[in-house]
């Protein structure tokens, strides 16, 4: 972050990126690809089942079906269909390449191709995840947190500490071992909150041919949960405990930010001015007392309680 981007009186505290292992959910997809490629190669060439793979297309089909089923399961669990399409892309891309180069000649060549191709795809996947990770930048200053990210389209979010109403922090098993974790600042507008939806539906059909009664019933449930995209949260930051403490301290106002400082100074000035006014009134009252002698007080309304606290 350049000095030009810093605001007046702003001091840069930390500049962070996610920990290399914080995107393990994506890296594990590549690990699966690697393991499955190795397993297919082993099954085709060395296992007790190798006699079943006489036809190279059987090996290709087994490889593809497992890839696609795994893709569907993961896509359903994570609610991200891009994972399924990625696996489908790997499979159809591989088949296309084999057909184009006419490599489907023997089971041995297909086995080697699957091993090398999936390993290559897994390495590409690892590199893409690393690129994605490096595109994240979190800047913590004494006034705000700036979230920057994006590979092609650059995204940025700025969050002032006085606008943070709550923070959610989580640390998975890998995070506990390697000392990183995710901190989601939830703003007063609700930014940083997501929702989990569940929906159940059922259908009923009575009668045949002529008379049909059709009914559908269902219900839904929504639970709000702290969630944000990795660009909008402090995703997998290291050292987690230190960063969490720092952010919490800024939020608690241990270090008063200039905006607050101005407000406090303004209030102090106001209080001093009011005190001055009261003093003048007191002096005037005393003068009047002296002039009128035993006469009644003119400014009886002025009470000591009217003097504001100097806090």
């Amino acid at each position: 972050m350049s000095d030009e981007e810093l605001l007046k009186n702003e001091k840069l505290e930390k500049m962070l990126s996610p920990h290399p292992l914080s995107f393990m959910r994506y890296q594990s997809l590549c690990i699966f690809l690697l393991i499955w490629g190795f397993l297919v190669w082993w099954m085709v060439n060395f296992s007790d089942f190798k006699n079943y793979f006489v036809n190279p297309w059987i090996a290709i089909l087994v490889w593809g079906i497992v890839l696609l089923i795994f893709g569907i399961i993961v896509a359903l669990i994570t609610i991200r269909w891009s994972i399924f399409f990625m696996y489908a892309g790997v499979f159809f891309g591989g088949v296309g390449l084999m057909l184009w180069q006419n490599w489907i000649t023997s089971i041995a060549s297909v086995g080697v191709f699957i091993l090398v191709y999936t390993a290559g795809m897994a390495i590409v996947g690892f590199l893409l995840v690393e690129w994605y990770r490096r595109s994240h930048k979190y800047i913590i200053s004494n006034q705000r947190i700036i979230f920057k990210g994006g590979i092609i389209t650059k995204e940025e979010r700025t969050l002032r500490y006085d606008k943070i109403s709550d923070i959610n922090a989580k640390q998975g098993l890998l995070g506990q071992i390697f000392g990183f974790g995710t901190i989601i600042p939830i703003s007063q507008s609700g930014f940083g909150l997501g929702s989990d939806n569940t929906f159940a539906a059922g259908g009923l059909q009575i009668g045949e041919k002529k008379a049909k009664i059709m009914g559908v019933f269902g219900g839904g449930k929504e639970v709000q949960t702290p969630r944000a995209r990795s660009y909008y949260e402090l995703h997998g930051v290291y050292p987690y405990k230190e960063i969490k403490k720092m952010v919490e301290e800024f939020i608690q106002g241990k270090d008063v930010i200039p905006y607050h400082q101005k407000n406090v100074e303004y209030q102090k000035e106001q209080t001093a001015f009011q005190k001055e006014q009261v003093d003048i009134q007191k002096q005037m009252r005393d003068l009047l007392k002296m002039q009128s002698g035993p006469k009644k007080n003119v400014d009886e309304n002025i009470d000591e309680d009217d003097i504001p606290d100097d806090k």
């Binding site: 190795f38 397993l39 082993w42 060395f46 098993l173 506990q176 071992i177 390697f178 000392g179």
Partner: protein, 357 residues
């Protein structure tokens, strides 16, 4: 049946118990050694130590939870993290139930991970689980010496088969590779107490033995009854003329053997880490790459030079090459020696000159 009546009735049941205890004690010593090595690398490899901590705590927590489940105390809270594990029972039972829960807590972690590995080995090993009694021992099988030899024979059979498998392990076989990883991971977690967030000197072999001793003296009647159950089991075995008593304790011996092998592997890994720490800069990565590459190359080599021991030879080549690479990459310490030698030569020379003068 040969053997005196006192030997058969009094001492014979003790033989396998003492044998199992001996191997368990060796396991304890190995655990202590692992802790010592882990403590040495702790400063530089905090995440690695945290990981081993987690495994240890996880097994300990599972054992405690198993204890509460077996005693029907129920579990109201279970929590495991890298530094701490907690299991709270629904009902705090007293007496024998509390004692059984504590047995699970203090002794379970020594055997749980080994038990998981034993189940895996049951499917992997072709033999080694043979518990038939050797023919020459049939006459003496219910004596102290006979029981001890049977126990030893069972252990030898299993250990030979297990080590033979490890020496000939095929790292291109997914099941073998998976088992090796499991053996290493679980080996790192075979210890009931763990390295805490801060170093606590009390947690050592004596601490663990003290815990177990407290358990024994807390209710000595229970331990006596445990012995009585063992003895009755032996008499039943004697009455039915079946050798299941020795087999039962042999299983404990197998568990200790598995633990010792797993702990030994974890030693090698920790020593590998210590050696790599002595390599400077980015060269550290070379030994890690050497391991798979040397193995693959060796296996490919033995395709063209077929031999019966291709897998064990490949493993040997892999280990030797890795050691050689580490040795070559390590900062040469010979300089110090050379300097000393030179100085010595210079000293001798100057002394000689003085004498001549």
């Amino acid at each position: 049946m040969d053997g005196s009546i006192i030997d058969i009735m009094l001492f014979a049941p003790l033989a396998t118990i003492l044998g199992a205890l001996l191997f368990w004690f060796i396991q304890l010593l190995f655990i202590q050694g692992q802790k010592y090595l882990l403590d040495k690398i702790r400063k530089k490899h905090e995440p690695f130590c945290r990981f081993t901590n987690y495994l240890g705590i996880l097994f300990q927590t599972i054992c405690q939870a198993l204890g509460y489940t077996v005693t029907k105390s129920g579990i109201s809270e279970i929590n495991v993290n890298v530094n701490y594990g907690k299991v709270a029972p629904k009902k705090q039972k007293k007496g024998i139930f509390e004692w059984i829960s504590n047995v699970f807590l203090f002794i379970g972690p020594f055997f749980l991970s080994a038990f998981l590995l034993l189940i895996c080995l049951f499917f992997i090993l072709k033999n080694g689980f043979d518990t038939t009694i050797p023919a020459h021992l049939l006459e003496l099988k219910y004596t102290f010496g006979g029981q001890l030899i049977i126990f030893g024979a069972h252990l030898y059979e299993f250990t030979a088969s297990f080590l033979n498998f490890l020496v000939n392990i095929d790292l291109f076989h997914p099941v073998h590779l998976g088992f090796l990883f499991l053996l290493i991971f679980l080996g790192l977690g075979i210890r009931p107490s763990y390295l805490g967030e801060k170093k606590i000197d009390k947690i050592d072999i004596l601490y663990e033995l003290k815990n177990i001793w407290q358990l024994i003296i807390y209710k000595p009647a229970y331990i006596v009854s445990l012995f009585l159950v063992s003895y009755s089991f032996f008499y039943l075995s004697l009455l039915l003329d079946k050798g299941f008593y020795a087999t039962l304790f042999s299983v404990f011996g197998w568990l200790s053997i598995i633990s010792i092998v797993a702990l030994f592997l974890s030693y090698l890994i920790i020593l590998f880490i210590i050696a790599i720490d002595k390599i400077e800069g980015r060269k550290k990565i070379i030994p890690y790459i050497t391991i798979p590459i040397s193995y693959i190359l060796a296996r490919v080599l033995f395709i063209y030079l077929p031999t019966d021991m291709d897998k064990s030879m490949s493993l040997m080549i892999m280990m030797l090459l890795t050691i050689l690479v580490i040795y070559l990459l390590m900062k040469p310490k010979g300089d110090k020696f050379k300097t000393k030698k030179k100085i010595k030569r210079l000293k001798d020379k100057s002394e000689g000159e003085e004498q001549n003068e």
